[in-house]
């Protein structure tokens, strides 16, 4: 067994109570059918549905009561 570890490095990370992190280049179709291209290497996508910059996260989840934040 190797002493040099292999690290987990997922492309999609669901942050508890927060956004979905997406690694890499993606095109996202929002609920109205509009397309949005990612512009950075890691992108945060809104999961609480309250962002003012959807589909991107803008931190609004932190203002919500806990029961309204994503799991």
């Amino acid at each position: 067994m190797s002493d040099v570890p292999t690290y987990e490095h997922p492309d999609v990370v669901l942050c508890p109570g927060g956004p979905m992190l997406l690694r890499g280049k993606h095109v996202i179709e929002d609920s109205s059918g509009q397309l949005h291209e990612t512009t950075r290497r890691v992108t945060a996508l809104c999961r609480c549905d309250k962002s003012a910059r959807k589909p991107w996260c803008d931190g609004t989840h932190k203002l919500l009561p806990e029961k309204l934040t994503p799991s």
């Binding site: 690290y7 490095h9 990370v13 942050c15 508890p16 109570g17 927060g18 956004p19 992190l21 950075r40 290497r41 890691v42 992108t43 945060a44 003012a52 910059r53 991107w56 996260c57 803008d58 931190g59 609004t60 932190k62 203002l63």
Partner: protein, 319 residues
């Protein structure tokens, strides 16, 4: 250009800096006559490690006499910061999940908000004042954290570089955050040279900048540097939106609000990376620095509170 001295220590040290590389002589430097004298001296000594000063010989960065002064001032600064942390720390609890705990610790910190005031009430002169002060850091945004990279274990290092790559424009110089800020400064009619407003900024700004350099430049303080980063990023998205809205309310140049808009989205990513991956992976490997992560996070929030108190009082905003 070196800043103006603010007391006998800064006057003597700046003279020494300018004298290098003259014949080596043992130089003695007086005690500072107050916190501003000490802080501007330390700021200038740290700058020798960043971009330096046009009129100063580059060997000054490693001059042993200047390093001795720097170390003396660093010990005083760290002592004061740790004393504030020790007075505060009993208030918070820790549970199982490091990321959740650190986010909760940052969220529980309650200070007055400059961004909220800018969003709804500040006038243009007040916003320009704030931008001059913030320029001392934003024109070298992320640079103090870059010192930390080689001191980290693998997973934390990779996560920090994922964040820093974004801060430095993902390879595109036009997208470097410090450059976006310079573009914003120019568009609102302010000076864009590095350190241009240093002589006008209060002690609180010097201490914010000195603290980041202190934590960045000492391997021993890597936990504090990354805790500071985590708190900075986790208190950036929502205030950046408020600042952008304030600039738009005042009809100020869109290049400056664009800088803050960029930070709404970027820092929504960065806070997750900083708390969960960068700090989380560090303390998983080096649990002994966990307390320093909290020390750094608290210090970031505390220094910003002190700036907010100063400016809101100066601007006559009732608490």
């Amino acid at each position: 250009m070196l800043p103006k001295p603010r007391g006998p220590l800064s006057a003597a040290v700046f003279e020494s800096i300018r004298a290098i590389p003259a014949e080596p002589v043992a130089r003695t430097h007086p005690e500072a006559d107050g916190p501003e004298d000490a802080a501007v001296t330390l700021w200038a000594l740290y700058e020798l490690a960043y971009r330096g000063f046009d009129e100063v010989d580059e060997t000054a960065e490693w001059d042993p006499d200047l390093l001795a002064v720097r170390r003396r001032l660093e010990i005083e600064l760290e002592g004061r910061l740790r004393a504030r942390w020790e007075a505060y720390r009993s208030d918070h609890e820790r549970h199982d999940d490091f990321g959740e705990d650190l986010f909760a610790f940052i969220a529980a910190h309650d200070g007055r908000s400059l961004a909220r005031f800018v969003q709804t009430d500040a006038d243009e002169q007040q916003v320009l004042d704030l931008l001059r002060m913030k320029s001392v850091y934003h024109l070298k945004e992320s640079d103090p954290t870059a010192w930390v990279v080689p001191r980290l274990p693998t997973a934390s290092k990779a996560a920090l570089m994922e964040l820093q790559y974004d801060e430095y424009g993902s390879g595109d110089p036009n997208r470097v955050h410090a450059h976006l800020f310079a573009r914003g400064l120019e568009a609102v009619g302010l000076r864009t040279e590095y350190g241009a407003y240093l002589d006008d900024v209060p002690l609180e700004i010097l201490e914010q900048n000195n603290t980041m350099s202190l934590m960045g430049l000492h391997r021993r303080l890597r936990g504090a540097a990354l805790g500071h980063l985590a708190a900075f990023e986790a208190t950036s998205s929502l205030p950046s939106r408020q600042l952008s809205q304030g600039l738009q309310r005042l009809g100020m140049a869109p290049e400056m609000s664009a800088y803050y808009d960029e930070h709404v989205e970027a820092d929504a990513v960065h806070e997750q990376l900083a708390v969960r991956a960068i700090c989380g992976e560090l303390v998983a490997v080096e649990p002994e620095v966990t307390d320093d992560v909290y020390f750094g996070a608290y210090t970031c929030l505390d220094l910003e509170d002190r700036l907010a108190e100063l400016l809101l009082e100066r601007w006559g905003v009732a608490s």
